[in-house]
């Protein structure tokens, strides 16, 4: 089943076409990778899918609904979660709080309920806490739950961001370079973790430069270059594709 379909997505910054008519289809329950050289428009594409940036033209269809003009928070409410390449952690909040607020979309009390301490507001906080503690336990972050997220080493902050996104129980999870800056061992554990998400039924779309990770876990790979989709296929096909090698290594690399 098609979970998300992006059609003819176009975005310019000044005179530069960051994305030029990109089509992408994500099947539910799969792991899809988006690769391409630096500046090829991968993060811009993520920003457009999540509503962080408006697009100039094109359509984004999620479960049959055209969400292309929706603000980010409404898309999140549908079950689209993401992490960021340049971490966007809530630094002065604890690890536990970071993950708790990830579950925001499943709670409903507002200023009134919160301020007057109504039972529902308190119950919701308990639910958020239970859910977050469970996730922290599972991701090996439990020992850091009380620490300020900004004080953690980089690799752990990445994990906290992933935990925060998962706390929203997303249908679609967008991971922007989940392995950047991680050690080989950490990368391996992330790879296993992402595969585990798939088994839970979460659709994963990831941008990644670590080719071993990409080829190891994804079922479908989409290649961008200068804002255009130049190829898509299975990891094996992508590895053999001349145009992809050319994009990464230049003309001579492709010949050799």
């Amino acid at each position: 089943m098609v979970l998300l379909e992006a059609q003819e997505v176009t975005k310019s910054f000044g005179g530069v076409k960051a994305l030029n008519g990109v089509d992408v289809t994500l099947q539910e329950g799969t792991i899809t990778a988006l690769i391409g050289p630096n500046g090829s428009g991968k993060t811009t594409f993520f920003n457009i899918l999540t509503g962080v940036l408006p697009m100039d033209a094109g359509r984004v269809i999620f479960l049959g609904q055209d969400i292309g003009k929706w603000p980010a928070h409404r898309r999140a409410a549908l079950g689209i979660a993401r992490t960021f390449q340049n971490l966007q952690i809530f630094q002065e909040m604890t690890v536990l709080e970071n993950v708790m607020i990830g579950g925001f979309r499943h709670t409903h009390s507002g200023f009134f309920g919160g301020g007057f301490g109504l039972p529902r507001a308190r119950r919701e906080m308990e639910q958020l806490r239970d859910r977050a503690l469970e996730l922290l336990e599972r991701m090996g972050l439990a020992p850091y739950q009380g620490a300020l997220a900004g004080n953690l080493p980089f690799g752990l902050q990445r994990k906290v961001e992933i935990a925060r996104a998962l706390s929203s129980r997303p249908r679609l999870l967008l991971l922007d370079e989940p392995a950047a800056g991680l050690t080989t061992k950490e990368t391996l554990s992330i790879a296993r973790f992402i595969q585990g998400l798939k088994e839970e039924g979460i659709t994963v779309f990831l941008v990644e430069h670590d080719m071993d990770l990409v080829m190891g876990i994804s079922e479908w790979v989409i290649v961008l270059n200068f804002g255009k989709k130049i190829y898509e296929g299975t990891p094996l096909a992508v590895k053999r594709e001349r145009s992809v090698i050319k994009a990464y290594l230049g003309e001579r690399g492709a010949q050799g």
Partner: protein, 313 residues
Amino acid sequence: MKRDYLLLLTLTVTILLLPPLLPGDYYVEVLLFAGINVLVALGLSLLTGYAGQISLGHAGFYGMGAYISGALTAHLGWPVPLAAITALLATAFVAALVGWPTLRLKGHYLAMATLGLGIILYILFVQLRGITGGASGLSGIRPVHLGDLYFDTPRRYCYLVWSIVVLAFLFSINLVHSRTGMALRALHYSEVAASTLGIDVAMYKLKVFVLSAVFAALGGILYAHYITFISPETFGFMYSVDLVVMIVLGGMHSIWGALLGGTFLSLLPEALHRLEDLEVMVHGLILLLVLIFLPKGFVGLIEKVGEKIHGAP
């Protein structure tokens, strides 16, 4: 969270015991006005310390509360509670009207908009002579009473003010420890990340702005019905600045900063009175020293001392 409720209990007991121990009505009155400042600063601290938005026009909301409630009782003879509720609603409406367009923009547009609003409201307080009495002030504001119980002595009114302060703190403690409070802090650190978690950033900023304006208006109402005579200079730009100074001195990252900073800045002029000409200079110097040596305000200092005593956190 438990610690906050304990602190609130301590505050309540202190306030209950304090007025009879003070040497005279004058000091009770100082405490009373400190309570009003703390209330207004508390609202600002929710806006600035938690949601990261700056307002330079809170004196205007303070004035709206005072003038609307005051004028409705003075000119039209409305009962105080009805006038007060009308003033709160009107202030909330104006805050929403100004906040709606500005809070959708990223950056510190709210500071600019509220700066302008504060000045416009001040001009209205001076120029709408028929309603506000203009520069010579509005008199004849009705005092507060509950049935036969008149809050006409400094001590009674002081208890009334601080009861409201305690309730406002209770509300604020609940709020900052709720999902809503977490959402406000989250958008403070990253609006983008907050929005991708489903938080309607513009709406949350708007609501907390309106809430803080309502706190300010409530302070103004309490002020007007105690003093029963108000004039525009109380509600000028300087008071907006004072409020920002209060929360910075107290420590913006905690609602208790509003209590410490608000009280401190209310008492400082009393302590410096006898210095006469030097007062302004010493006042400025003290603020400067606090800001240089206590970047996280009084609350930050207390937290540091606490950590020293209990060992590293």
